[in-house]
Amino acid sequence: MSSLESIVIIARLTLREAFRRRLLWALVGLTIVIIALTWWGFSRIADVSPVTGPVEMLAVSQVLVMLAFMFSFVLAMTAVFAASPAIGPEIESGLLLAILARPIRRSEVLLGRWLGLAVILVGYAIVAGYLEVGAVGVATGYLPTDPAIAPLYLAGEALVLLTLAMAFSTRIASVAGGAIAVVAYGLAWMAGVMGGVGEAFNSDVLRGAGVVSRLILPSDVLWRGAAGALTPTEDVLRGGGVASPALYKFSPFSGSAPDPVWLAWCLVWIVGALAIGIVLLRRREV
């Protein structure tokens, strides 16, 4: 059996489980509710104060970024809680024993689980993300800087956290691994904010903390990219009274497109974390 076939079998099993356990349906249902509420809320804002000028657009953009942050949080939690029990607990319960006794490598099991969950998360991030941006656009007429790319950054952020939790899952109990991943996600976000402050006020220490944090866990690279894509254009910012759009981009509710080097690092990080997870799983006694 080729490696790819084995990976696809496990990925398909993971997808079937997500459908059967109603994880996807729960996500779809909640998304519909959130989008309906988003549309309703932004429509009320537009009723009170039609979004025609830069000040209103700036206000709407901040609410949209807040909404995106909540969405990224939900995605991150979904990734962590779906991946944390994906390997270790299934070994401990005996569920994986019968599978591992088949002609399949441990690496293929891990990559298959990762692929299955990645398909769910990326699919959900893209569909729900575009629907959210679309609902805001329909309700208010506001279109941010780069609405097409924002959901992709959010999907990437979810993949980073999925990979982190999956790597933990090979050796750490699911509750502990999940908790560590959530805390790491929060710390990375905080460090990103501090790094932004460092950039804005030219503090090497804070800037350095942000860089180190992004090297350890690059989820904030992608979040800042998503937030930047949802931020208004510089003209709107200036018209809305923001004296320095460059400084505004370092605020917690804004961002900018990440440097390609950082995007490449995200990719390298995901591949590296998966490789570490595979090594840990191969060395684990079952």
Partner: protein, 345 residues
């Protein structure tokens, strides 16, 4: 049991060629930190036989099974399964396995679980339906095939695990405590299934605590203790080592002397026990006893039980009952209480 006798019990003096072996291990060792789970496992399992792997708790049986299946890596030593080195992924296509800790996707139906394993075992898709239906019939789950396994009892899950292990006509089936959750009917089914596997030339590696089960189905057994095989013997040889109990009176002091000519003898109350006596010599012994004034009330053929041999090898004093009545008599009786080694140490 002396090592000499054990050597004799190992069967033909010619060592089987590697391609005649289902399993071969040489000084297989497994350590978990400072704990030595296997201290040097050396054994051979011929193809087409049902091989019992016995030992008390903590002897290293399940660790050995995991090493054989490539689920764990040995710290030292080597071995082969179906002619391929331990851990060879491709060989697993030819091996069926029921884990001791059996559990299957609770959100799937029994049919879906079997289908998944058909896919994992890389069976031709055209064979899946036949394989799945065959396995369901074999283990008696056809009526529950479309129920989620999460609703199954432990016994039914174990039956499902047996079905999974038998998919795809494996050349070797490794069963780790296959009857631990089964009722007497289920155990009888397992014995029947194992017998049918043997008839088809499938090798069966049976890891079990249940000596009576092993005694009934196995061609050969290995007894493992502290991570080493302390004996490997053929069941046929064990069954040949029979004895006779004679209830005799009126010949006090002479019975043991008379019987000594036929085999090692000892008197326990009214019973005279004679070990290793040939079946054909029993009438002559009875005649001798009668000629010397003895009144013979009963003659009971006996054989050494696996339990007695097991206890002897592990240095555990067994009860007198360890010498069991003839197996044929026991087999005719209702399902006997199985001897559970978990309680022996």
């Amino acid at each position: 049991m002396s090592s000499t006798a054990l050597g004799r019990a190992e069967g033909p003096t010619r060592a089987p060629a590697t391609d005649e072996l289902a399993i071969e291990t040489r000084e297989l060792r497994k350590e978990f930190g400072r704990i030595v789970a296997l201290a040097g496992l050396t054994m051979t399992v011929p193809r087409g036989e049902v091989f019992g792997f016995l030992g008390p708790n903590g002897a290293g049986k399940t660790t050995a099974v995991k090493l054989l299946l490539g689920l764990s890596r040995p710290s030292a030593g080597e071995g082969s399964v179906l002619g391929a080195p331990l851990g060879d992924v491709a060989t697993r296509r030819r091996v069926g396995y029921l884990p001791e800790l059996f559990r299957y996707q609770g959100w799937m139906t029994a049919r879906e679980v079997l289908g998944l394993h058909c896919e994992l075992a890389r069976l031709p898709r055209a064979d899946w339906d036949r394989e799945v239906s065959g396995a369901l019939d074999l283990v008696g789950l056809a009526q529950r095939s479309d129920d989620r396994t999460g609703t199954f009892s432990k016994g039914m899950q174990q039956r499902l695990g047996l079905g999974v292990a038998f998919l795809g006509r494996p050349e070797l089936v490794v069963l780790d405590e296959p009857t631990s959750a089964l009722d007497p009917v289920g155990r009888q089914d397992v014995r029947r299934i194992i017998a049918s596997l043997r008839d088809r030339g499938v090798s069966v590696f049976l890891n079990s605590h249940l000596l009576t089960e092993v005694e009934r189905v196995c061609d050969r057994v290995a007894i493992v203790d502290h991570g080493r095989v302390v004996a490997q013997l053929a069941m046929a040889d064990l069954q040949r080592e029979q004895g006779t109990r004679i209830r005799v009176s009126g010949i006090d002091g002479l019975a043991e002397h008379v019987a000594a000519r036929y085999g090692p003898a000892r008197v326990e109350g009214e019973w005279l026990n004679v070990d290793a006596i040939a079946e054909a010599d029993v009438p002559a012994l009875v005649r001798d006893l009668v000629e010397r004034g003895g009144a013979v009330h009963a003659v009971v053929p006996m054989r050494h039980s696996l339990e007695e041999r097991f206890m002897s090898l592990l240095g555990v004093d067994g009860p007198d009952a360890a010498k069991a009545p003839d197996a044929a008599d026991a087999a005719d009786a209702a399902e006997p209480a199985s001897t559970d080694l978990k309680a022996t140490r």
